[in-house]
């Protein structure tokens, strides 16, 4: 036990000795959180729009008014004919063009369909989909009003459905609430998967791993000693980010912090295991970095549902997500933060983490011991 303790103390000293690592472990996560929290926003408003109004009647002006008044569109310029739109969209000065052809007002007055064209820059598919959706809503609303005003009073009332939406957990549908807890998972992967793998490989590179081997330390003591500091730093980062997420971004923590901590520890078993596993595969820090970032972290982030919903993926990819620990941790994070879920709901995810953790950590320890022999 004494040997284990001195090993842990040595690792902490080494970590502290590397003066620039500590800021990296604190400042890095904070910057990552700020970037994701403020930048990760798929909602679009004030879409820059160029106007081609060839009608120039009160009716066409009323239509344009509806677009600008909605807050979704912002006029950035005007052209006399549709031919002038191209440079606006190519150079990215405008994302949409609203084209009201000649005869719009006359057609409306005569009761004929009046045509309105909306041209979107498809190279930004997400914003354009949203922009076209807003435009269609505005025009549908306008059309319904005009139709209602034309209805003859004699027509019998027709029963209509009315959709009453109710949104749970996130009533204002803020996309930030979806993304911000994801930072926790990303930071923990960085701190408890990539950094430990590099730390172990560093000792290999410098040759101090051999020195450790000739000490009376048992392999499990060495592993535990090497990993313990990262568990502490990981838990510290978890508390730091949870504080910022709730304090700065107003994301509610509806569940229990204790449960979050316990389940985070389970998640750390999987990431630390993966980190150790990497260190047994590669020989240089550069390889460790490349391997853990490209082969593990990036696919794991993308296939975990942290950013892109799993439901939107093709079947094969959906199956692949089941072996990714972050998938379960993402469920746990959103469950505890947004839904206030307890272990009664989250136990399948916890169980999956235990299964993956035992497998990965076991394999890593076996391989590590072999590489020592």
């Amino acid at each position: 036990m004494h040997a284990l303790w001195s090993m842990i103390v040595k690792e902490f000293l080494q970590l502290r000795h590397d003066k620039r690592m500590i800021p990296a472990m604190i400042i890095g996560p904070v910057i990552q959180l700020l970037a994701l929290g403020y930048a990760a926003n798929l909602d679009v408003t004030h879409i820059p729009t160029v106007l081609v109004d060839q009608d120039r009647t009160p009716a066409s002006r009323a239509l344009v008014e509806r677009f600008t008044g909605s807050g979704y569109f912002e006029l950035v310029g005007a052209e006399d004919s549709p031919g002038g739109i191209d440079p606006w969209l190519v150079e990215g000065r405008a994302q949409l063009a609203l084209v009201v052809g000649p005869g719009y007002g006359a057609a409306l007055a005569a009761g004929r369909p009046a045509r309105v064209q909306v041209i979107a820059d498809g190279s930004d598919s997400n914003s354009s989909t949203l922009g076209l959706g807003y435009a269609s809503q505005i025009l549908a609303g306008l059309g319904a009003e005009i139709a209602a005003s034309r209805l003859t009073a004699t027509a019998a009332p027709v029963g209509r459905y009315e959709l009453v939406p109710r949104v749970w957990y996130n009533p204002d549908l803020k996309s930030r609430w979806f993304y911000v807890p994801a930072v926790l998972a990303m930071v923990l992967m960085l701190v408890t998967m990539i950094l430990p793998s590099m730390a172990v490989v560093r000792e290999k590179e410098i040759g101090t791993l051999e020195q450790l081997i000739v000490t009376p330390l048992k392999p499990w003591q060495m592993i535990l000693g090497k990993l313990a500091p990262f568990v502490v730093v990981g838990l510290f980062d978890m508390l730091l980010i949870t504080g910022l997420v709730t304090g700065l971004f107003g994301v509610p923590l509806r569940g229990s912090l204790l449960l979050l901590t316990l389940l985070t520890l389970l998640f750390l078993c999987t990431t630390l295991g993966l980190g150790l596993l990497i260190s047994t595969v590669v020989n240089t820090q550069q390889q460790a970095m490349g391997f853990s970032v490209y082969v593990l972290m990036v696919p794991m982030i993308y296939l975990s549902g942290l950013i892109f919903p799993i439901e939107n993926m093709p079947r094969g990819f959906q199956l692949a997500t089941y072996v990714i620990p972050v998938r379960y941790y993402a469920n746990i994070l959103r469950g505890i933060f947004l839904k206030g879920s307890g272990i009664g709901v989250l136990w399948p995810d916890a169980l999956a983490l235990v299964a993956i953790g035992v497998t990965v950590l076991g394999t890593a320890v076996l391989r590590f011991r072999k590489s020592l022999d």
Binding site: D18, R20, G28, I31, Q32, A35, L36, Y38, A39, L42, V44, P87, L89, V90, E91, L108, P113, V116, Q117, V118, D121, G122, S123, D124, S125, S127, T129, L132, A135, L139, A140, L142, I146, A147, R150, V158, G159, R160, Y161, L163, V164, P165, Y169, F178, I194, M198, R202, Q285, Q286, Q287, G290, F291, Y294, V295, F308, P309, E311, N312, P314, L338
Partner: protein
């Protein structure tokens, strides 16, 4: 500066890189893997949402409405809940993203010409998916109302305002076309910055940098010699991505290849300069990796318009994006690849890219050369 000496440094670096096939494979293979991920697995196009229904009415009207939901392919019916079921529990377990409640008396209300409320309960934890689900449901209910109206009136009402959406450059609004150019910018930044920074810091760590300094090499020869191989590797990665994007996803380069090459070259020079700058600050590879991923990966994902629109960010963050070269590169690349434009359409963006490359390379040169003395 002697090109012969520069070349010999580059050759040495290339040999060193080729002795590390794992890293080399990662530099070239990872871009293709990410392309596959983005192309096949990742999108915001929501389809087949898991919908549960609680039909308390069980009338002909309610069945008709339900079948219109299922036939739309936007929703998959996963459960038919009995009256009084615990709906909150059901969405908390993520068994369904949305629950449609058709209250008792819906059919009667419709037949009597009254308004029949429908309740749609949404899991707001994933705000983006919930918004999309709400939009789909509104459209379906709107269509059902329109159908009832026309059946009752016997006269098909022509929409007074005809909405004609047109999408340029990416008519099907496929997110792959939107993501591929951004992906190139992201991967190039990551590989160029990290591999340059790590290759220099590795020599520092091993002490071989001193050996290089006592040779007759001048600073410029050493610096450019070390970056040249990574320039070539990154350019190869670009070609691989473009070829894969062309054959797998049908993303064609519509603009001139020469312009694409020039823009990529300028962008890469800036990225390599950034890598050198980091190597002049960092003493260990772990530190270089931390700093490198912080200044290259994060901004290239979150602050470049790659996924999240810059216009939706708070003003302070928007101001910061002006210092992120990927921001300009994304605009230029989307223009050349998707819109078929040439560099002459983007003088401002190209100007910023050139300025960035000059400033960063200059700073790196000054810092690295000073250490020589």
């Amino acid at each position: 500066m002697s090109f012969k000496k520069l070349w010999s440094v580059a050759w040495k670096e290339l040999i060193q890189a080729s002795r590390d096939p794992l890293s080399l494979a990662m530099l070239l293979g990872v871009p293709c893997m990410m392309l596959l991920l983005y192309g096949y697995a990742l999108n915001f196009d929501v389809r087949h949402l898991r919908l549960a229904v609680q039909d308390e009415d069980r009338s002909a009207a309610s069945r008709e409405l339900l079948s219109s939901f299922v036939n739309s392919t936007y929703f998959d019916l996963v459960a038919d809940l009995p009256a009084g079921a615990d709906l909150a529990r059901f969405t908390e377990r993520r068994e369904a993203k949305a629950v449609l409640v058709i209250p008792l008396g819906t059919g009667e209300a419709l037949a009597a010409g009254r308004t029949a409320p429908l309740q749609l309960l949404l899991d707001g934890a994933d705000a983006n998916t919930a918004s999309t689900a709400l939009a789909y449901a509104s459209a379906l209910v709107g269509a059902a109302n329109a159908a009832r109206q026309s059946e009752a009136g016997g006269r098909v009402e022509v929409a007074p305002v005809a909405y004609e959406p047109r999408v340029w450059y990416n008519p099907e609004l496929r997110s792959t076309h939107f993501l591929v150019p951004g992906l190139i910018g992201f991967i190039l930044m990551l590989t160029a910055v990290l591999s340059t920074a790590l290759s220099v810091v590795r020599e520092k760590e091993r002490g071989t940098m001193e050996q290089l300094r006592v040779t007759s090499l001048r600073p410029a020869e050493l610096i450019f010699g070390k970056t040249l191989p990574y320039l070539l590797i990154s350019l190869t990665a670009t070609v691989l991505i473009l070829v894969a994007a062309r054959f797998l996803f049908g993303v064609e380069v519509k603009g001139p290849y020469l312009h694409l090459f020039l823009a990529t070259l300028v962008y890469l020079l800036g990225a390599l300069g950034l890598g050198l700058l980091i190597s002049s600050v960092a003493d260990t590879q772990a530190m270089a990796f931390q700093a490198g991923s912080l200044v290259s990966m994060l901004p290239a994902i979150f602050l470049s318009g790659f996924i999240f629109p810059i216009r939706s960010m708070p003003p302070v963050l928007q101001a910061i994006t002006y210092a992120v070269p990927a921001r300009y590169f994304n605009v230029v690349l989307r223009g050349v690849i998707l819109k078929g434009a040439g560099l002459e359409s983007y003088p401002r963006d190209m100007g910023f890219l050139i300025l960035y490359a000059v400033v960063v390379l200059g700073l790196a040169y000054v810092r690295l050369a000073r250490k020589e003395v």
